[in-house]
C-alpha cells in the first residue's frame, strides 16, 4: 500500500508551485511510458531513456564531484529538500545516502491509476536517472526501497 503524503510545506505557495511542475512532468512521463508499452515496447525502453538522461545530468552537474560529501552537496538542492522533503541520511568516506519522504511524481501517478505494481515498476525505471547520474562519474546507485513500492521513504545509496 503506497503511503505518500506531504508532511511539510503544505500551503507554501512556492513549494506547491514547484510540486505542480513536478506532477506535470510525472504525467508526461506516465503517458509516454504507457504509450510505449501499449505499442509493444518493453519497459526497458524507459529505463534506457532515463539512464541516458541521468548520464547527461551527471556529466553536466556532477563531473567535479570527488567525495560523498561533495555528491550530497550537489544532489541536495533546495528543490529536493523542500519539494521532495529530502534529507541526507548518511555520509561516509565511501557513500552518501539520500532519503526522500514525498514524491510528487507518485502523487501524479496515483491520480492516473490504482495499479500499485505498475507504479513501482515505472518508478524504478524513473530512478534509472539517478543510476545514470552516478554512472556518469563512475559511481553506483543502490536503491533501497521507494515510496512507490510501499516504503515510507525512497532510500538512495550513492557509492564510489
Amino acid at each position: 500500500m503506497i503511503k505518500n503524503e506531504p508532511k511539510k510545506y503544505i500551503g507554501n505557495y512556492e513549494v506547491d508551485a514547484i510540486r505542480d511542475a513536478y506532477e506535470n512532468r510525472g504525467r508526461w512521463y506516465y503517458y509516454l511510458v504507457r504509450e510505449g508499452l501499449e505499442k509493444g515496447l518493453p519497459l526497458q525502453f524507459a529505463r534506457d531513456a532515463m539512464f541516458e538522461a541521468g548520464q547527461y545530468l551527471g556529466k553536466k552537474r556532477f563531473s567535479n564531484v570527488k567525495t560523498p560529501q561533495e555528491f550530497a552537496d550537489e544532489f541536495m538542492t533546495h528543490a529536493v529538500k523542500t519539494v521532495n522533503e529530502g534529507e541526507v541520511a548518511a555520509v561516509t568516506d565511501d557513500e552518501f545516502i539520500a532519503e526522500v519522504h514525498y514524491c510528487p511524481l507518485v502523487n501524479a501517478w496515483r491520480k492516473l491509476t490504482d495499479d500499485e505494481e505498475f507504479m513501482a515498476q515505472i518508478c524504478d525505471a524513473c530512478m534509472c536517472m539517478d543510476r545514470g547520474i552516478a554512472d556518469a562519474i563512475g559511481w553506483e546507485m543502490d536503491l533501497r526501497g521507494t515510496l512507490a513500492d510501499g516504503h515510507d521513504r525512497c532510500t538512495m545509496c550513492f557509492k564510489k
Binding site: A17, W28, Y29, Y31, R34, G36, L41, A46, D48
Partner: protein, 160 residues
Amino acid sequence: MIKNKTTIQDKLSKEIRTANETRGLWYYMLVKHAGKYGLDEEEFARGAIRKLGNLYRKNYPDTDSISQFMGAFMNDQTVKQFHAELVSLTDDEAIVHFHYCPMCGAWTNLTDDEKKISMICDCAMDVDRGVFDLYEHIGFKLVRAIGAGDDVCELHFVKK
C-alpha cells in the same frame, strides 16, 4: 537558427524552469529511445501527448467564450514560464505569443538537429491540441514556433 532566451529570473520561476527543462529532457530521451526500440518517433510522441492533452481539458472551464478561456490559460506560471503575452483578444479570436520555451531550452543543449527539435516541439504542442479536441466551440492553431526557428510561438484560439 533557433533563438530562445529567458528574461525572467526570479527564484521561483528559475526553480520551475529547471523542472520544465528536466521535463523536456525526459520527453526527448523517451522519444529517442522509443525510436531506438523501433517505433516511429513522431507517431509515438503524438499518441502519448495528444492523450495527455485530452486529460488536461479538465484544467480549463466549460465555456464557449474565448475571453473566459484565456482567463484560465494565462495563469501566473504560464505567463512566467513561457514569457507569455496576450497580443490580441476579440470575441472571435485570441492571439498569444510565447517569447521563451523551457522545453526547447533543454533540447537545444541536447542536439544541433533543428529539424528534429522542430518535430518534437510540434508533437509536444499536441498537449494543447488535445485540450481543444474536447471543446465544441473553441479551436486552436499553432502558427509559429520557437522550436521551428521562429521568433515566438504564436498560438491562435479561435471560434469554431
